[in-house]
């Protein structure tokens, strides 16, 4: 017998001495205890939430392909200015600029195609993942996180607009949805509900749109000086207003896309190359067990096996 009472069979060692935990925990237990009720009602009122919802919704429309179903019309920009006027002077000025730059649908459609459409190749990417650091392999988690937000509030990407979930229009529509819920819950006096939706908006802005909106707006401004540049300015003004009011501190994406395959901090300069198959590796022959090494014991093992037959 060993002198240790430890058995490799059991719950997490860090919880074994906690008799109140009532045995081994499961992933489901962890999920059940994640809730952290915050009793304090977030700042704001129903009317402002409604204006904000309208702004987000119209912004999403403004960034869609202008045609019979998408894009802003004259009535929309009037509503845009009215909603912005109820929030903040900077936002109002930006909304007025959108109204001033509204051109006819055909002209905007052409401009939209040039900026975002596949017709002329993406000049400006409307997708969050484009702006995140690291390779697509590791940033896809953000895609799952975004879809998780949508699912949590019972909505999903529509079939008529089969874009990826991180598209700017979806993110704006989601924020509009949260603001609408905020307004309705405030009118119903549901403080707990208000706390939940505002907390979701806060988290979503900090983890997603609040991180990359400025790069997106900057890219549009670099390629356009008309209607879409004005829409981008309004987007930036609105999100910056949100960041200030909700006291957020989003970790901004890098100034330029920095695609990395391996972390140089960990793997050194060699970490830049792929070399997964060893085909372009140098010095590999010195590594023990390498097939490039004539002294490779593994090759010997296999060949010996054949020779014995």
């Amino acid at each position: 017998m060993s002198d240790s009472d430890f058995s490799i069979l059991g719950g997490p060692p860090s919880e074994r001495n906690d008799e109140s935990s009532g045995g081994n925990r499961t992933a489901r237990d962890d999920r059940d205890t994640d809730a952290d009720p915050t009793p304090e009602l977030p700042p704001g009122d129903a009317a402002t939430a409604l204006h904000r919802a309208r702004l987000y919704s119209l912004l999403a429309l403004g960034l869609e392909r202008p045609d019979g179903n998408g894009g802003l019309e004259m009535d929309d920009t009037t509503a845009l200015v009215n909603a912005a006027a109820a929030l903040d002077r900077t936002v109002e000025d930006a909304a007025t600029a959108v109204d001033d730059h509204l051109t006819d649908t055909a002209e905007r459609k052409k401009r939209w195609a040039s900026l975002f459409g596949v017709e002329e190749g993406h000049t400006v990417s409307p997708y969050e993942l484009t702006y995140l650091p690291g390779p697509l392999l590791t940033t896809v988690r953000q895609l799952a996180d975004i879809r998780g937000f949508y699912h949590a509030f019972g909505i999903d990407v529509g079939e008529k607009m089969p874009y990826r979930g991180d598209h700017v229009c979806y993110q704006l529509e989601f924020l509009a949805h949260l603001c609408l819920r905020d307004a309705r819950l405030r009118r119903a006096g549901d403080d707990e509900g208000v706390t939940i939706v505002v907390d979701a908006r806060r988290t979503f802005l900090e983890a997603h749109l609040g991180r990359w909106f400025w790069r997106f707006a900057g890219e549009i401004s670099a390629h356009d000086d008309g209607f879409f540049a004005a829409v981008a300015d309004l987007l930036a003004a609105l999100v910056e207003d949100e960041i200030a009011i909700l006291d957020l501190d989003p970790e901004w994406v890098p100034d330029t896309s920095e695609v990395t395959e391996w972390n140089e901090g960990i793997f050194g300069a060699a970490g830049r190359s792929c070399g997964g198959c060893g085909a372009d590796a140098t010095g590999l022959e010195d590594l023990e067990g390498s097939p490039g090494n004539p002294r490779n014991p593994g090759s010997q093992t296999a060949q010996d096996g054949l020779d014995d037959r």
Partner: protein
């Protein structure tokens, strides 16, 4: 000395801790004859679990080409060399396991793995993070055997030129090497399903598990300063769903379920009643074999060996049961194993774990906890076309008449 019974080696083996088995043991079966190394499993796992900074080198699921592929480099060969001669007497392993190689008296308190007295007297090596993990596809598609010449023929069951793909995940070993080596006892097996986990709150980054897991499935995360490993997708399996790498497998080579010891194995006849599929494959039919059983850890991922590779090489990987497994596997083609054929068709037909299956009126039926979760025909319906069609008065010959 602590002795635990290892049924795969048919004897008592040394291990630092007493034998204690979970209520049921998470287990898997991979049919290596079906794997095409598409790496969908690898990516499904990578994007789910190891996409963060510090996990760049981690592939909790990897697929390597045998005999020359290995991730990390030479993981198996280097450990085998350390272990010395490995001989079997029938079904009984007579060589040393990784915990026996150094003749450590694990009952002696002086040798017990503790924070003050880290005991690394276990066969194996510590992978170097900068070099050994750098080439996950090392040796991909490299062939063994004869040179490829114009007159080479593949007439025999064993091919003169060969390689095969070996998908690997954590084996959630009954006597987990990672847990046996951990000096701070931060690694444990869950009593409810035997999944081996590292307690991140307790891990002190001693990295002994990186060395004492011979399959090299515990890896150090320098960003988190803890070691991490495959979690068997327990959040999914708790709900009855197969792990990510199983669900996404294009070749449908994987079966997830739970296995018993030979003494407690389900000996039902699936032609007559629902039967545990892992017990059926491993204990009844003995067609699926553990990977490197001689390490001594009772690994719980089982493989149907590839029939085109040489038996003596495969016996190094899967123990002495390879030829018998081949015989049974080939009998499927002769229609002599309808239940086995049905089960192999059932694999991958459902996203659920399969805890029982049976053959019902020419169909294989899978169950999870009594609920039907899959049903497939044992023999796929086929259409035979005529070799020659008449088209506009011309004869059109089919080269492919399947």
């Amino acid at each position: 000395m602590p002795q635990v019974h290892n049924w795969q080696l048919n004897r008592e083996v040394e291990f630092p801790y007493e034998e204690s088995r979970p209520e049921r043991q998470w287990a898997a079966m991979f049919d290596l004859n079906k794997c095409i190394e598409c790496q969908t499993c690898t990516l499904a796992c990578k994007t789910t679990w190891t996409h963060e900074e510090g996990q760049e080198h981690m592939f909790w699921n990897n697929v390597e080409t045998k005999p020359y592929g290995a991730h990390p480099i030479g993981w198996d060969k280097r450990t085998l060399e350390d272990m010395g001669t490995m001989e079997w007497d029938g079904d009984t392993y007579e060589g040393d396991t990784i915990f026996e190689t150094e003749d450590v008296d694990w009952d002696d308190p002086e040798n017990h793995p503790t924070e003050e007295r880290i005991n690394e007297d276990v066969a194996g090596f510590m992978p170097d993070i900068e070099d050994d993990w750098r080439y996950p596809n090392l040796g991909e598609d490299e062939t063994a055997g004869e040179e490829m010449d114009l007159d080479v023929h593949f007439d025999e069951d064993t091919h003169p030129i060969w390689f095969f793909y070996l998908p690997r995940i954590c084996n959630h070993c009954t006597y987990a090497g990672c847990a046996g080596g951990c000096p701070v006892q931060a690694i444990y097996k869950r009593p409810e399903d035997g999944v081996v986990l590292i307690d991140r709150e307790e891990c002190q980054a001693q990295m002994v598990c990186n060395e004492t897991c011979p399959y090299k499935k515990a890896q150090y995360n320098p960003a988190e300063t803890i070691s991490q490993k495959c979690v068997g997708c327990y959040p999914k399996t708790e709900d009855g769903r197969a792990p990510q790498c199983f669900e996404t497998c294009l070749g449908k080579i994987r079966l997830h379920g739970y296995i018993n010891t030979p003494e407690e194995a389900d000996d039902s006849d699936p032609m007559a009643e629902p039967t545990n599929p892992l017990d059926f494959l491993v204990h009844q039919k003995e067609v699926a074999l553990p990977l490197y059983p001689q390490f001594g850890l009772e690994p719980n991922v089982y493989y149907i060996p590839p029939t085109t590779a040489p038996v003596d090489y495969l016996e190094q990987l899967f123990g002495p049961g390879v030829e018998d497994a081949f015989e049974t596997y080939r009998a499927i083609g002769d229609g002599e194993e309808p239940a086995l054929e049905g089960l192999l068709n059932l694999m991958g037909s459902t996203e659920w774990s399969i805890t029982a299956f049976e053959v019902d009126d020419g169909e294989a039926v899978g169950y999870y906890e009594g609920d039907e979760v899959g049903r497939v025909p044992i023999t796929e319906p086929q259409t035979e076309r005529d070799r020659v069609d008449e088209v506009d008065g011309e004869e059109v010959y089919r080269l492919d008449i399947t």
